[in-house]
């Protein structure tokens, strides 16, 4: 039953948390739309934020594929993000100390290959052991990667970072000249505060297109994987690895697949960031990125792809929204440092009142056509349930 065929039925099918999230999201979208029309929010900046939200969503997707699906504790989200960012930056940038000047697609490929190899190298010794060893090793890995990036000047240009990065679509037909070719538009909804759509806006919309493509493809892959027997083995490993082993599942291989998949998605987020920001520096590998991703996944509901998406958007809203707090209400203090406090308060509140996250998996995860079309017409389709999604308290 899809939203298009039968909107009323699809809405009636929603569980309470889904309805809530949908409602709040709709209200928030309306608020943003009004802000845009009145000129309170610059359209180019808005699109930059959408890109950033997409990037955090990608990071949360990646972590969800590791922690949410399989229960792997990875504290090196920032490292894989950094590998993606630096991998593509060093391949494509004009100021790159090594190769440089390649097509961004080459950068994308190199970044993914490096992330793959690194995930494999860290996974081989740790994934046979208990979950905590991966946690410890990944914590170390994050620092090692950051320090290498900071100190190996011949490779990464050290603290200077990498500049001169082209947009992702540079060198493509049509798309590379699209921002310049588009005419500047001037919309005046409210008299006196016009909304200008110029080259920067078109450039930003290309970035949004890119992140939507990345995030859409990743969501498609994860959604299908989650409902499959493959995902079911991962979920079994998360609950009880010995049970999966006793039933003939090669859990080491499954954990490796899940770890690599998640790491590749994080690297993808890094690749996008490179072409969004057009500059990368060692500061981008700070551990805070790891913890933002963790907060997003736990907040959204571990194991839920939609939850990860939701969590990613909330993180960006808090991170960037606090910039506007001073305009909206004259606070006696600078609100920027409140950001971390606010995220802390949110996570404490979620843990206290909804430990399974805002939007944990809501339905049975069985390959859809097997339930709808196949063997079991009499059984109720959606075993809708509130479940303890496991999660942050472990």
């Amino acid at each position: 039953m899809s939203l298009v065929d039968d909107p009323r039925g699809a809405l009636a099918d929603l569980t309470r948390p889904e309805a809530w999230v949908l409602g709040v999201s709709a209200a928030f979208a309306l608020f943003l739309f009004v802000s845009l029309l009145t000129g309170a929010l610059g359209p180019s900046y808005f699109l930059f934020l959408v890109g950033l939200a997409g990037m955090y969503a990608l990071l949360s997707f990646g972590l969800n594929a590791q922690w949410g699906f399989t229960g792997l504790i990875n504290f090196s989200v920032a490292a894989f993000f950094g590998i993606g960012a630096y991998g593509s930056a060093l391949m494509t940038a004009s100021s790159s100390p090594i190769a440089g000047g390649f097509n961004p697609l080459v950068g994308l490929a190199v970044a993914l290959v490096v992330a793959f190899v690194l995930a494999l190298l860290i996974g081989i010794p740790t994934l046979r052991l208990r979950a905590d060893y991966l946690a410890i090793a990944s914590l170390g890995l994050a620092e090692v990667v950051r320090l290498i990036v900071l100190n190996e000047r011949w490779l990464t240009n050290g603290s200077g970072g990498v500049r001169g990065i082209p947009g992702f679509f540079q060198g493509w037909p049509v798309l590379s000249t699209f921002p310049e070719a588009m005419p500047g538009l001037r919309l005046e909804v409210i008299p006196g505060s016009p909304v200008l759509l110029e080259t920067a806006f078109w450039q930003a919309s290309l970035n949004v297109l890119l992140v939507l493509m990345f995030a859409g493809a990743v969501y498609f892959v994860l959604h299908r994987a989650h409902q499959s027997p493959w995902g079911r083995v991962l979920r079994t490993i998360r609950s009880d690895e010995d049970l999966a082993r006793a039933l003939g599942k090669n859990t080491y291989s499954f954990k490796m697949q899940s770890f690599i998949l998640g790491s590749l998605i994080m690297a993808l987020a890094g690749v996008f960031y490179t072409h969004l920001n057009l500059y990368v520096g060692p500061g981008d590998l700070d551990p805070i990125t790891t913890f933002y991703a963790w907060v997003a996944v736990i907040l959204g509901g571990s194991g839920s792809n939609r939850g990860a998406l939701f969590g990613g958007i909330v993180i960006v809203t808090i991170r960037e929204g606090t910039r506007f707090l001073n305009d909206a209400a004259a606070l006696p203090i600078d609100p920027a440092p409140l950001r971390l406090l606010l995220i802390g308060v949110v996570i404490v509140a979620v843990m206290r009142y909804r430990p399974q996250g805002v939007l944990p998996p809501q339905r049975e995860l069985i390959w859809p056509s097997a339930v709808d079309g196949g063997g079991t017409p009499d059984t109720p389709e959606s075993g809708v349930r509130e479940q303890k999604g496991g999660g942050g308290d472990e």
Binding site: A225, S239, D242, L243, R245, G248, K249, A370, R385, G389
Partner: protein, 262 residues
């Protein structure tokens, strides 16, 4: 009668001179026995006799210090649990394992071995095959749940059912893995008498349909009624093996249980 003395021509599981020690303690001390195809073999012994250790050694969770384990004539000593399972030996656990966030039938669907949908590549390269096998497995899962008379639980959360029902689900799921020999670790521990009776009937029925069982159980009435032959383990080695009648009347068994020792 010496240890493991019964003639076993068609053994589905053969344990030979198996040893395992933890520190100075020999938990499994040159244990030798075999499980004849088509039987329900009981494994009993006082607390600390090494029954669970033996299960862990057989199923690959522990690596033995010496000796061999053969499943279906293949030497599986030192293999990973999943490899042992691939040779047809499936085990259950003493305490039912809880699968958070799954319904009973989802938990059942982990059972079938080598599902096409367990390959990540197949999910995208051959979705049709995945769907087909998932439909077949789902139908099979529901058929087995019906046979176990717990099909009404199919869409319940797997963590919200009683301990006894969990044991039934665990047994039902193990059947989906199509084992040649199924190791049950205390199938009726903590199960109420009604469900215990039901479990006994199910084990007997499955045995008649061709599954071989090896079960650890402390409930003497349960094991004496169901199993034949019975292997008695004491201090890590096989004390004796025989029919329930023989075991019950064996002085050494009584000594072992009462702690008489010498």
């Amino acid at each position: 009668m010496s240890e493991g003395a019964l003639p076993k021509e068609d053994a589905v599981l053969r344990v030979d001179d198996l040893q395992k020690s933890f520190g100075g303690l020999a938990a499994t001390d040159h244990a030798t026995f075999a499980v004849e195809r088509g039987t329900i073999t009981g494994l009993i012994g006082p607390n600390g006799a090494g029954k669970s250790t033996l299960f862990n050694l057989i199923s690959g969770f522990y690596e033995p210090d010496g000796g061999t384990v053969e499943v279906n004539g293949t030497d599986v000593t030192g293999m990973e649990p999943y490899e042992v399972a691939e040779h047809g030996l499936i085990r259950t656990f003493q305490t039912p394992r809880k699968l958070e966030g799954m319904t009973v039938r989802e938990a059942m669907l982990i059972g079938p071995r080598n599902q096409p949908g367990e390959s990540f590549v197949n999910l995208f390269a051959r979705p049709g095959t995945v769907a087909e096998s998932e439909s077949a497995n789902l139908a099979e899962a529901e058929r087995i749940l019906e046979e176990f008379e717990i099909d009404h639980l199919a869409t319940q959360p797997a963590t919200d059912i009683s301990g006894g029902q969990m044991k039934l689900v665990e047994l039902a799921r193990a059947m989906l893995a199509e084992p040649e020999v199924l190791l049950l670790d205390e199938p009726v521990a903590g199960v109420n008498p009604t469900l215990a009776k039901k479990l006994k009937e199910q084990v007997r029925r499955l045995n008649e349909q061709g599954t071989t069982f090896l079960l650890i159980e402390h409930d003497m009435e349960f094991v004496m009624d169901l199993a034949d032959p019975i292997v008695v383990l004491d201090q890590g080695h096989v004390l004796t093996e025989g029919t329930p009648e023989e075991v019950r009347n064996d002085d050494r068994v009584i000594d072992a249980y009462l702690g008489g020792g010498t």
